[in-house]
């Protein structure tokens, strides 16, 4: 009987295919290192507007490299009438123009020359005018949702994109009397403080919306950002800056596709993916894929603040590893002001009478170790 059961087990092993014959799949098409140009950004029109473009290259599947910047490229904006405006390199694939006064009534395109002396050019795009953001509102329904309200009295914009930057302040778990700077220990003061930090994070979702089905160009209560309940972002005070761009219909569809292609990978009910066709071409090889869709638009923005005490049932959960007990170190110090503890993950907590000191993991006392800066932003 035992034998029969074993044979049956072998059979069932095949039957349970989800567990059975699964092996890595990497055909040559996937293994070749693709190196397509990726263009991310918007030609910003309006008064004293700065255009920021990010250039990068695709990486092959299975690569752990997150971002592969394209360096040393030459970029400029070309107006239909022929004027050109250079965009200069800032490092790490970011290129930024001087404050320009591009007329939103005109058409623009982006030209790129990569170090390999390859030329890329986008289609001429009609600039869109982003109307002012009427208001940003938020409501709490467990999570906090921030919504945008806008309208275009001329009914011209219709398609919108929003980007946002969130800033929040937070405190260290322990109060610091001392701070370490360049290997020396200083007294903590209002400038050299590590108790309170401000952290800023940019949106990592593509947020687009449209009013095309409405008789008027009105965006009402459109959710832009969601802060999950109990998130440390609103542990004390939180601020969000929403930037609004107008889009052409083509740009809107393109961004929607990107969203759908990648935000649903690996589920049981996979969506059918498809190739992206942007508006940037290689001047040398029309078949070379280039990723990205260049739009031109004015930008409008608005900022709001949310206080922790405005929320209900919000117990901030901090992403700090357990601090544990302070470690007492007893070194034969020549100078009590010198910080020479070898482990960079630790910093001073306090002195103990007699020259001994207690140290603790940095994130527990130095708020900067948790991604923020200890300088209050100007808008705060």
């Amino acid at each position: 009987m035992k034998k029969i059961l074993q044979i049956s087990s072998v059979l069932l092993f095949s039957l349970l295919w989800l567990i059975a014959c699964k092996k890595p799949y990497d055909p040559p098409e996937i293994k070749i290192a693709t190196n397509f140009l990726v263009v991310d950004g918007n030609i910003t029109c309006g008064t004293n507007a700065v255009t920021t473009i990010t250039l990068s290259r695709t990486t092959k599947l299975g690569d752990s490299l997150l971002f592969n910047p394209e360096l040393n490229a030459l970029l400029y904006i070309e107006e239909e009438q022929g004027n050109v405006f250079p965009i200069s390199e800032q490092g790490n694939g970011v290129y930024r123009s001087q404050p320009l006064n591009l007329d939103p009534a005109r058409k623009y395109r982006l030209k790129i020359t990569t170090p390999g002396n390859k030329n890329y050019v986008s289609d001429f795009v009609t600039a869109k005018t982003s109307p002012a953001i009427d208001s940003l509102t938020w409501k709490q329904d467990g999570d906090v949702t921030v919504s945008v309200h806008t309208h275009d009295p001329l009914n011209n914009t219709r398609y919108y994109r929003w980007e946002f930057a969130e800033t929040w302040t937070y405190a260290s778990l322990f109060h610091a009397e001392w701070i370490v700077k360049d290997g020396w220990i200083y007294v903590h003061d209002s400038i050299n403080q590590i108790d309170s930090c401000w952290r800023t994070a940019n949106s990592n979702n593509i947020v687009v919306g449209s009013s095309i089905a409405l008789s008027e160009d009105v965006i009402s209560d459109f959710p832009v950002a969601v802060i999950p309940q109990h998130h440390e972002k609103i542990g004390k005070r939180y601020s969000i800056l929403v930037k609004q761009y107008g889009l052409t219909e083509e740009a809107f569809r393109y961004l929607q596709l990107i969203k759908k292609n990648t935000e649903q990978l690996g589920t049981l009910f996979d969506a059918q993916p498809s190739q992206l066709k942007g508006n940037i071409q290689s001047a040398d090889d029309p078949n070379e894929p280039v990723i990205g869709f260049i739009s031109a638009s004015t930008v409008t923005e608005k900022r709001i603040f949310i206080q922790h005490d405005q929320l209900t049932n919000w117990i901030p959960v901090y992403s700090i590893e357990t601090c544990g007990n302070p470690i007492i170190i007893d070194q034969n110090r020549t100078d009590y002001r010198i910080w020479d503890y070898p482990d960079p993950d630790y910093t001073i907590l306090y002195y103990i009478m007699g020259g001994t000191m207690a140290i603790i993991k940095k994130p527990c006392i130095d708020c900067r170790a948790r991604g923020g800066v200890n300088v209050k932003p100007s808008f705060w």
Binding site: A20, P24, V38, N68, N261, A271, S274
Partner: protein
């Protein structure tokens, strides 16, 4: 054979009772006018007049009427007059007993057909005149039947040019089961007809003598000598071909391949199906289907099949007239058709008869056996995963029979025995049950009741339980108006449902359900005024009701918000008329017209979108609610069916067909992944019916006295309004499914080559198919382009397919079988690069279906050992052993990509990634 003897005695008694007692003088003269009198009445009158006593077999003479004028003549003179030009003779003995008999016919063997004589006379009007001898040997009985002259119809003296019709059933002499597709023909003149689904035939022949021959695969050719007087019935029982004969030449279907009007049609009987080795040793109709030319599937163990570049939802799958929406068990490991109750199947790929409609690509008509009408018998099978049991028999002998078949798995029990707990949470089982009751009310009316239930449950080491099942029931009434005209009415209800549930986390516990039901009513009429025309016409009507999806909390603690999609309903009605016209023995055509009308009915909400812009949540403008049974949208149109056949001088034939079809129901299935749930969608205001056109041309030729059958067919198809999906389409629980669907136009073309050898020790077939299916975006408001608007391969486009199936019979008890499959890998859209945009890592995909998964190659082998062939054993049993996927090739079934710790990785899944041995034990009693 005690049964036979008893029967004989009974008949003999009957014979004696019928004798009329009288005594008188034979010299008495008679003067009387006899006008159209049944013979028995005539005999009675003559007995009264002359005092003689008639002895005759009433069955022989009950259809013989007498019209004669006697003017002072003697009894012998009168009878001479009466029997002139008939095959009857009489003799009068000294005691004035008149014996009516048949003319002496030269016979080399003694006719010994007790059993059959009785049967034929009992339910037909054929008149058989043979002396009665008891006969116990079957073979002699057959010889007797074949040498006997069957007289059909009312005896008249007008044997000549006029035609009369013989009709009847072709059945298995042992079980009473009818034969579909058996060929009934005469050689001079060459007239051939094929039996229908009931095994019924109707053939028109000039009055007079003929030799009627009947061929059906696997059975001995039956010959009947008939004397045709007028329209009449002749039922013919076929005998199993005895495999001990050295050369069993089965020519019936071979010839029908060339002579028949079927084109792009495949017919296989369960005998052939059972010879092909399949995984787990269970004869599987779908697996065998996939070895035929022009039939492919997206992958191993996937649901459904693709015919000539059509999608899986373009096949109408009928199981004894019931529409089966999911023909597979356990993701396709087993087919829904229990081989023990299946008689065979017909697959129509190009010339789809006009009586079928509603699907574009093919019709798979799986027929179910009638129960044995003569004795109770059963079969059973024990495999490693499944067991099955079938019992059948008469409820009333020769009148009512039943067959019940069931299958079940004990895989759950096996799963629990596996020591490693990897599978402890897994579950996989199915069961199904078939029932059929056939009832013959009388010669003219028969009723058939068919029911089918299947259930599938599986849980693959996750907390999610999948369940699905088919429910079907129908009743069919066949009525013979006369030999030329019969009708069938079928009323049925078909249902398919699935249910996915999860209850691991009580807070998230849910039920996800969807179902499709249809109530249908069909009538079919067949009228064959003569051999030149065979008309068919009828009405089909289907009422659909779809529950597209409901997502509901499971249990008290669940916080899932219910999400229920509105039900959909529609009525599809079609009228059809077709004529099969045999112009001469070489040239025949079949032309048919079907007109279908489709109404999408309320209650339903219909969304409107901004005109000329892609349908999208952002372009949604308005919602209109329609009330119950309100017509929301109507589509209608004609469908044409045409096929012509010409027999060439070299005995080959050429056939040409044209088809146009409409399909109102669509299956939403994203084949980019494994979806256990298919959602059916009715055509509505936004989703137009699919339409298809097909032209095909074929050449058929048989070699080596019809033992090798070869065919070459080419086809070209066009598709309109075929559905494909937008990038990122969400099919499940989508309230605005029209926003994720795009219309495409498609074209498919290909060549199918097939060589079959169906007789001899070595049998089998080889088929090669080249086929392409290309789609092109055909939607001005798609809002996105797929492959720049160029043609792209469909998901199921697999250009090269080759299949080889071979069986070799070493002895009566030992048979081996080999199966080889090759096909091009299916197309796939690959993620080819990663990029960073808008603050996240994203995936860049190739053009849609730009690449292909590796080719599919598989070989299987099996051998079957039969028990000894003693006929008197209590049970007959057989063992089959085999290896599935002998080459242990890891054929990819699915390829998918997952994000693992921030890195995207691809995986290939093989269903049967290794050689799988199997063993099966079958018994029958």
């Amino acid at each position: 054979m005690p049964a036979c003897r008893r029967f004989y005695l009974l008949i003999t008694l009957g014979f004696l009772f019928c004798g009329l007692k009288i005594s008188a003088q034979s010299s008495k003269r008679i003067s009387q006018q006899f006008e159209n009198l049944p013979f028995s009445v005539f005999a009675e009158k003559v007995e009264t007049i002359t005092g003689c006593r008639f002895y005759f077999k009433p069955g022989e003479l009950d259809s013989f009427s007498v019209t004669v004028k006697a003017e002072d003549i003697t009894l012998p003179d009168l009878l001479t007059k009466v029997f002139a030009n008939t095959t009857f003779v009489f003799s009068i003995d000294q005691e004035n007993n008149v014996f009516i008999n048949t003319k002496f016919t030269v016979q080399t063997t003694l006719p010994k057909d007790f059993f059959n004589t009785n049967k034929t006379t009992a339910d037909t009007s054929a008149i058989i005149k043979q002396p009665f001898f008891e006969q116990t040997d079957d073979r002699k009985k057959i010889v007797a039947q074949e040498n006997k002259l069957y007289e059909i119809g009312v005896k008249q003296n007008n044997a000549g040019k006029e035609r009369a019709i013989i009709a009847g059933y072709i059945r298995d002499g042992k079980s009473g089961e009818s034969f579909t597709g058996a060929m009934v023909y005469t050689d001079t003149p060459y007239v051939a007809v094929v039996t229908d689904q009931f095994g019924y035939y109707s053939i028109a022949l000039p009055k007079g003598r003929h030799i009627l021959q009947v061929n059906s695969i696997g059975m001995k050719i039956a010959r009947r000598r008939v004397m045709l007087y007028s329209d009449g019935t002749l039922n013919i029982d076929l005998q199993d071909s005895v495999p001990s004969l050295k050369n069993v030449t089965i020519i019936s279907e071979k010839k029908s391949n060339i002579r028949g009007l079927q084109m792009g049609a495949e017919r296989l009987t369960i005998k052939t199906i059972k010879q092909v080795p399949v995984v787990f040793g269970e004869a599987d109709i779908l697996k065998v289907l996939l070895t035929l030319p022009g039939v492919t599937s997206v992958g191993e163990a996937s649901n459904g099949f693709n015919v000539r570049g059509g999608s899986t939802d373009q096949n109408l799958i009928l199981f004894s007239d019931a529409t089966i929406y999911n023909p597979s068990h356990l993701f396709g490991f087993f087919s829904a058709f229990n081989p023990e109750v299946v008689k065979g199947f017909d697959l129509y790929k190009s010339a789809i008869p006009e009586k079928y409609g509603g699907r574009l690509s093919s019709v798979l008509d799986v027929s179910m056996r009638d129960g044995n009408s003569k004795k109770v018998s059963g079969t059973g099978g024990i495999g490693l995963l499944t067991s099955k049991f079938t019992i059948e028999g008469p409820l009333k002998k020769d009148k009512t029979s039943f067959i019940v078949g069931g299958r079940t798995t004990y895989s759950n029990w096996l799963l629990k025995q596996i020591p490693k707990s990897d599978y402890s949470k897994s579950k996989a089982d199915f069961n199904d049950l078939n029932l059929r009751i056939s009832h013959t009310i009388n010669n003219k009316n028969s009723l058939y009741l068919t029911g089918y239930i299947s259930n599938d449950n599986f849980k693959l080491n996750t907390d999610t339980l999948y369940k699905y099942g088919n429910r079907n029931i129908n009743i069919k009434w066949k009525h013979l108006f006369n030999n030329k005209f019969y009708g069938v009415a079928i009323a049925g209800w078909d249902h398919y449902q699935y249910d996915i549930s999860s209850d691991e986390n009580p807070v998230n516990a849910y039920n996800l359900k969807s179902s499709i039901s249809q109530g249908s009513f069909r009538t079919e009429f067949n009228y064959s005024p003569d051999n030149k025309h065979a008309l068919s016409f009828g009405l089909n009507s289907i009422y659909y009701k779809i529950k597209p999806g409901s997502f509901t909390p499971k249990g008290q603690q669940s916080l899932v918000t219910p999400d229920i999609l509105q039900d959909e309903q529609a009525l599809e009605t079609a009228l059809y008329l077709g004529d099969q016209y045999t112009i001469n023995s070489k040239f025949s055509v079949n032309a048919g017209l079907r007109y279908s009308l489709y109404n999408y009915l309320g209650p339903h909400d219909v969304y409107s979108y901004v005109n000329g812009l892609p349908r999208d949540k952002t372009t949604l403008t308005d919602t209109t609610s329609y009330s119950r049974n309100k017509i929301i949208k109507t589509y209608h149109g004609p469908e044409y069916r045409f096929v012509a056949r010409y027999v060439l001088p070299n005995e080959g034939s050429v056939k040409l067909s044209f088809n146009s079809l409409w399909q109102y129901i669509h299956m939403l299935s994203n084949t980019a992944s494994i979806s256990p749930s298919d959602i059916w969608k009715l055509s509505d205001a936004a989703i137009k019916p699919q339409r298809g056109y097909q032209v095909s041309l074929g050449y058929y030729k048989n070699f080596r006295s019809n033992t090798i059958e070869a065919s070459l067919e080419i086809y070209y198809k066009k598709l309109k309004n075929y559905l494909d999906y937008k990038s990122g389409a969400v099919l499940l629980l989508n309230h605005h499914i029209e926003t994720d669907i795009i219309n495409t136009r498609g074209k498919a073309y290909g060549v199918e080559l097939s060589v079959k050898k169906k007789s001899g020790k070595a049998t089998g077939w080889f088929s090669y198919t080249y086929s392409k299916t290309l789609l092109q975006l055909d939607d001005p408001i798609a809002g996105q382009s797929i492959n720049n608007g160029k043609f792209y391969p469909a998901n199921f486009d697999k250009p090269h397919n080759a299949n080889f199936v071979a069986n070799y019979q070493f002895s009566h008890r030992f048979t081996t079988s080999l199966n080889f499959v090759y096909s091009t890998g299916r197309p796939i859209t690959l993620p080819i690069a990663i990029f960073y945009l808008g603050g996240s890592q994203r995936v860049y995909y190739s053009e849609r279906n730009e690449y292909r998964v590796p080719d599919y190659i598989r070989a299987d082998f099996s051998f079957t050992l039969e028990g000894n062939h003693k006929t008197k054993k209590l049970t007959h049993n057989s063992w089959s052993f085999g290896v599935y996927n002998m080459l242990a090739r890891q054929n990819p079934y699915s390829i998918y990509f997952v994000q693992e710790s921030g890195i995207i990785k691809g995986y290939q899944l093989s269903v049967f990634g290794t050689a799988i041995p199997f063993i099966n034990y079958n018994f029958r009693f």
